[in-house]
């Protein structure tokens, strides 16, 4: 491998590393009205599985999810212990059998964040790089 090839390889490695860094980690965002809501790991799971439908501070849980992609995959695996397809199947099943109200589904994280900011009781997840002051970040306790 000559010097020019090494430089190209180095540049490529930098781009890949930068792109990876640009995708940070998914975080839970919520409407500002839920700022005082206390979450633990089990509660997060219960919320996204449709078992907990009302917040302790009041109001109905309104779920917002990203349709597909690495953020959804990572969040669901870490917090719900399900794949994206498994999660989608669960909610299709609940919605079609009278078991629950399906989450609002979004193509883009920006649209999801705007929905959460504007909707009392709304909760969702986005990449941490896409959080702004219009929403609050909920961090589950132990």
């Amino acid at each position: 491998m000559n010097t020019r090839s090494l430089r190209r390889f180095g540049a490529l490695a930098f781009i890949i590393a930068f792109a990876t860094a640009a995708h940070a980690a998914p975080v839970i965002i919520a409407n500002k009205g839920l700022e005082k809501e206390k979450l633990d790991v089990a509660t997060v799971k219960a919320v996204f599985l449709g078992k907990k439908v009302a917040w302790d501070v009041g109001g109905r849980v309104i779920l917002a999810v990203i349709k597909t992609g690495p953020v959804a995959d990572e969040f669901l695996k870490a917090n719900v212990e399900m794949s994206s397809s498994g999660f989608n199947n669960l909610w299709r099943r609940l919605a079609m059998t009278g078991g629950g109200t399906a989450p609002k589904s979004f193509e883009s994280e920006e649209d999801l964040r705007k929905f959460v900011a504007a909707t009392p009781g709304a909760v969702g997840f986005v990449d941490s790089a896409n959080v702004d002051a219009s929403v609050v970040v909920l961090t589950p306790g132990a």
Binding site: R60, G98, T101, A102
Partner: protein
């Protein structure tokens, strides 16, 4: 609620055209939410084709039938933090069963006090095994036909839902959780339903061509417990339910001018299930035992008698996703009569081996193809709607199906 609404041939072609248009233009949408409300609407339409080489199984399909479709439309809304209401209309054509009549599949008011206690009342889906509440949902599985040994498609219109109430909830225990459901009510039943073919099978009880002319039942009660184990993706399920006083009346086969009345004081269903999802794989197995005494009476001639009826069924299945578009699956099911079982008599057992391939065109349109080899003739009916006067020991069954969901 039964509304007589039958699709004409032209209507069927029109529906197929709409689906085709959806496939080509990609017009299908996700479940629809009404802007600035919590109202959601959804539904599905599926059309399939069944071809059986020899016996009419699981319905009248020898030589092929297009009478294999389901459609549903639902709407739901929420009120306040805890109350949800919704309903779904459903129609199916499964050979001669269903006839595209629109029925109320479920209609519920659900009040969820908290995650461990809620009440659901109205017409409620019947929890039984892994898939009892989702019998019609092609989108959640690779298979066209669920294993008949546990989910008889003939009984779909009978065991899909009940009128009554259910309490439910979920309780966390250490690193696992238990979901429970306890329910009670009754199931509207009439001679048009598939369960009637169990009574009319072979023509030994009720005289053809009418068969049983009236059916009724007192109640259904049951419970289900799901253990979401600490092992990620593994859940174990136990389901128990029973009917009381399931009665049927009709002309007695031995002497049609008089009425035969039958009574099943208690018919029970117990099902143990396990499902393990790991990566792209899903493994499942279920075992089911049913049974009850069938009492017979022909008051006009002073006859009374009875026998025990029931079956043991089980299956194992495996499926795997292949990328975003494909999923393959296979299962082997075994069903056998409980009393007097004789392994050399094909009428006493049914072994069903199936392989399936599913292709998702997009989030809303899918195609499936499936092949079965069925050995044995247990639950191969011989009725006016599903004739098998001389069933063969084995049969090959092919199915294709497409589903549009939104």
């Amino acid at each position: 609620m039964n509304i007589d609404f039958r699709l004409t041939s032209a209507c069927r072609r029109g529906t197929a055209f709409v689906v085709a248009l959806g496939l080509i233009a990609g017009v299908a949408r996700a479940s629809i939410s009404i802007e600035n409300t919590n109202i959601q609407i959804g539904g599905f339409f599926s059309q399939g084709y069944l071809y059986s080489s020899d016996n009419n199984i699981p319905t009248a399909d020898k030589g092929g039938t297009w009478d294999f479709r389901e459609m549903a439309f639902n709407v739901s809304d929420t009120f306040g933090a805890h109350l949800r209401v919704g309903a779904q209309a459903f129609a199916q054509s499964f050979g001669e069963i269903g006839q595209d009549k629109v029925i109320l599949d479920w209609a519920i008011a659900d009040y969820n006090f908290n995650s461990w206690f809620g009440i659901r009342a109205g017409r409620v889906k019947y929890p039984k095994g892994l898939y009892g509440e989702a019998l019609d949902l092609d989108v959640v599985r690779p298979f066209i036909l669920l294993p008949e040994s546990v989910y008889s498609p003939i009984l779909r219109d009978f065991t899909a839902s009940f009128d009554g109430a259910m309490i439910y909830g979920s309780v966390n225990v250490l690193k696992s959780s238990f979901d429970y459901k306890v329910f009670g009510g009754t199931i509207p039943v009439n001679p048009e339903k598939g369960v009637t073919d169990f009574y009319n099978d072979g023509g030994g009880l009720f005289a053809a061509p009418t068969g049983a002319t009236s059916l009724k039942m007192d109640s259904v009660k049951g419970a289900q417990l799901v253990w979401n184990t600490p092992v990620n993706g593994l859940k174990l399920v136990g389901s128990y339910s029973f009917f009381t006083n399931l009665d049927a009346f009709g002309p007695f086969a031995g002497y049609p001018p008089v009425v035969l009345s039958t009574n099943i004081p208690k018919f029970s269903w117990i099902t143990y299930s396990g499902e393990y999802s790991v990566g792209d794989w899903v493994f499942a197995a279920e075992w089911q035992r049913t049974g009850g005494d069938l009492l017979l009476a022909v008051p006009a001639i002073g006859y009374s008698g009875g026998e025990f009826i029931g079956w043991d069924g089980w299956y194992v299945s495996v499926s795997r996703r292949l990328g975003d578009k494909f999923q393959v699956g296979a299962y082997y099911g075994n069903n056998q009569v409980r009393t007097g079982y004789n392994s050399s008599n094909p009428a006493d057992y049914q072994h069903d081996s199936a392989v399936s391939l599913r292709y998702d065109l997009n989030d809303h349109v899918l195609f499936k193809i499936e092949a079965h080899y069925i050995d044995g003739t247990y639950e191969t009916f011989d009725t006016p709607r599903i004739p098998n006067p001389t069933p063969k020991k084995d049969t090959t069954l092919f199915a294709v199906k497409t589903t549009l969901s939104f």
